[in-house]
Point group: C2
Chain length 498, copies 2
């Protein structure tokens, strides 16, 4: 399947064939996530949760139903989400109907509770997270992991005693997310933008987002961090008594990473033969395929295969590969390093399957290897076979793991850099975007003042203004807005979006 020439078809193919999701579940935008796909997601979230735990975030659980009066407290938030919520209607015995909102996100119920929990500066900072699901009644075309009516994600919410501390928290959030991105070999393959005023999260002071480029040139938001300021704390009455004895409203941030990140990782690393998985999320890290042609060979080869497997497991448990066991939070090596003993499949069929499923390393053992004391390691990243002496296996596997990280990281970065252009005129910008690029252009304003230009760009060319560089101030000198021709105060990133 050709990823370059028809990404959309490739994506549908990989989601189905690699058993990531099954779209036959009969509700629009709500696929079933199958064991292979769901395991990748679990591995990703387990790693994210461990980073959140280590930085003092605490997990909790809030019901997915929200009483309307709580949902409606913050007006911008309400207006931003109201149209796309699902509603629960319940008739009581007295014939009265009660209605609940199915959460599209958890700010309102959580902040209602936080106002009951926070009392003093000693209760702050409070950092909370939930790995849960949210529901949005999407009208656009849905696609597994990318856009659906059920979104699996992790949302974090923090409460602080000062604006400075909340701003600092945003840095911690980005450090956590970039640690995760790095482990998935996609670090620095996105721009962290500050969204324009007209496109921020409903209820936020401002929104920052890691905007990545999918193989079809479209923008995918793989993580967002919002500065909420005191907007929610004022409506939900989240106050604390400060050290100076005064009662103040808390400062807040919230941030999230969803299954979209998994869609991105699949899409960016995958190739025409199937998935190419980073070790962290691979359900199977190493598969050993024994090759035999008769019963005599079979026993010898199977024994050797299992011996190699034990040796590998031991190296992860106690030996030189132990650091990876800890890094990848492996707690079930028996399922992650396996021997494929199936007799109803030929080795070539097994190879095809593991290619498709993106298993990082495959070790092949035939009778000749066994006699020579050698093994063949196949690397999914480079599609390369390497003969190694059995004694050197563990050491070589360690080397290959490190190199595998490098290959995935470099390929992803090269792709990102190759899809990046500057343009100073509307014509160039539109041409580049239509050829699948992210384009940086001079723009009049990212306040309300610039919205009209953004609307023109969107209506006429279906191009969106993603925002300004959040990390580095990029101000054009003596340039003109590509739309209105007024003096350009900002460089903004533009492109197509899902």
């Amino acid at each position: 399947m050709d990823k370059e020439s028809n990404f959309s078809e490739w994506y549908s193919w990989i989601v189905k064939e690699a058993e990531i999701a099954d779209i036959r579940y009969p509700i629009k935008g709500m696929p079933v996530y199958r064991p292979y796909g769901f395991k990748m997601y679990k591995n990703l979230m387990k790693y994210l949760e461990s980073l959140l735990d280590k930085t003092g975030h605490k997990a909790l659980w809030i019901p997915p139903f929200i009483p309307p009066k709580i949902f409606a407290k913050e007006t911008e938030h309400l207006l931003g989400f109201e149209m796309e919520t699902f509603k629960i209607k319940k008739e009581s015995s007295k014939g009265v109907e009660r209605e609940f909102i199915v959460r599209p996100t958890s700010e309102t119920p959580l902040y209602f509770m936080a106002s009951l929990w926070i009392d003093s500066h000693r209760d702050l900072p409070l950092k909370i997270y939930m790995t849960n699901t949210v529901y949005r009644c999407e009208t656009k075309m849905t696609r597994p992991l990318i856009r659906g009516r059920e979104i699996l994600w992790n949302e974090a919410h923090t409460f602080h005693s000062s604006a400075e501390e909340a701003e600092k928290q945003m840095k911690e959030a980005w450090d956590i997310y970039e640690n995760l991105f790095d482990e998935l070999c996609v670090k620095d393959t996105y721009v962290i933008v500050k969204r324009p005023e007209w496109d921020k999260f409903p209820g936020a002071e401002y929104t920052t987002s890691a905007d990545a480029i999918m193989p079809d040139g479209k923008r995918l938001q793989i993580g967002t961090v919002h500065f909420l300021g005191q907007k929610f704390s004022k409506v939900f009455n989240i106050k604390f008594k400060d050290k100076d004895g005064l009662v103040k409203y808390v400062w807040q941030t919230c941030y999230g990473v969803s299954m979209r990140l998994l869609a991105y990782v699949i899409s960016i690393h995958g190739d025409n033969a199937g998935l190419v998985l980073p070790f962290l999320i691979a359900p199977i890290k190493i598969v050993i395929v024994p090759i035999w042609y008769n019963e005599g060979e079979k026993n010898m080869v199977l024994n050797k295969a299992n011996e190699i497997r034990d040796k590998l497991i031991n190296a992860f448990e106690e030996g030189s590969l132990k650091k990876y066991k800890e890094r990848w939070l492996m707690d079930n090596l028996e399922n992650e390093i396996i021997v494929d003993e199936r007799e109803d499949k030929k080795p070539s069929e097994k190879y095809f399957e593991y290619e498709l499923k993106g298993v990082p390393l495959r070790i092949e053992i035939g009778i000749r290897d066994l006699i020579e004391g050698k093994l063949t390691i196949y690397r999914r990243d480079k599609g390369e076979k390497i003969k190694v002496i059995e004694e050197e296996l563990i050491e070589r596997v360690g080397d290959i793991i490190e190199d595998y990280y490098n290959v995935l990281r470099n390929n992803a970065k090269m792709f990102f850099e190759s899809r990046f252009k500057d343009a100073d005129t509307l014509e160039d910008a539109v041409n580049y975007v239509n050829s699948g690029y992210f384009v940086r252009v001079p723009f009049c304003s990212v306040d309300k003042d610039g919205e009209e230009c953004a609307i023109k760009l969107k209506n006429k060319y279906k191009i969106e203004v993603f925002g300004t560089n959040y990390r580095k101030e990029e101000r054009p000198k003596g340039k003109r807005c590509i739309i209105c021709g007024r003096e350009a105060k900002y460089y903004v990133y533009i492109g197509k979006s899902y």
Copy 2:
């Protein structure tokens, strides 16, 4: 708070004060699970999931909304759950309403999907699990963890090529659950019963359940395993081509453990001072409390406390306590073995808090201990302080851990055995039940034939027939049913229930 004399009050108190759940969330039966309580639940589920993973179960994710036509396929199942479901109503742009059921359990959507996945005997056995939430519109009094409208649980579903294999799977399910119960120090503190015909899971051939006794004498179901036979596979058309070339319906089982198990563990081990947690689920396993009276002491004591903590962490990472790190699946030692350096709390206030929160071990270090090279270990199980020489700390902690397990296990078993009676007459049986006992009585029948007697027992005395011993055939000889006086074919367990 007195657990013995007023369990109900004690339970509400512990749930609130130990920050397990917050019932102020404004939807009946849907509390918020706070970080301390939710961490216990996560630890419990992580352990259960690792057991399921090791036995070939695979996690997946199914949306919580079910189209009514799928929900209605199995008639008994529909009738069993229909009245207590929440419904989503969605108006589409064309004004047409679509309605979905919010899942009360996942048989129907999963079995719809399984019929698309299972094709050949090579696809079997298929073992699936989900750690998710289900929703039931309870009308009875709700109580955090015990009975609510949102239930957090783990449900497993298996598909087999023969009845024998499915029956064998039920044994595996009970082995897994009893491994979990054992780790929570509650093994053998329940009867595994086979429910009478009139009280089985809607759609099952038969139901087995671990029925435990809460401190108030009421039965709590802490795990259930159902034999579904071919009832669902026939309506959902889940067929496979067997080795003999014939197309057959699969045989199924399903089983679940919910947050009720956590309610039981809290209730059975807790005491008047608060929680007494098994190590597995304790969010904090060991807390070190430094004690100082002036600034000079402070530094010395804090340094020593942190040195002890590092030593403990090291012993869990690499030393003699490593087996516990693996057993408890600890992946964040920094949060699980802590030094409480807070200066705004006195040591006695800290002790009170850790008592309440059930931290298994507390180590106290004051200046005198430091000079003597000694430490004080406080065991939450026995409420006992032990002086130990610093050099022997790790070894002693290891001994205490083992003994802590024993103490919790023995106390729980003693409680269970003390609440167990045999009775041959209705009068005795009712008296015992009303005094908080589980009672074994001779009963006419557990088929439809005996239902009338069960109804009488329930209507007149609010006593329920839990079922027969699933593991051991217990047949009375020459005894009479305590209700109708006919010959008793079975011994059944009876009592009050939540």
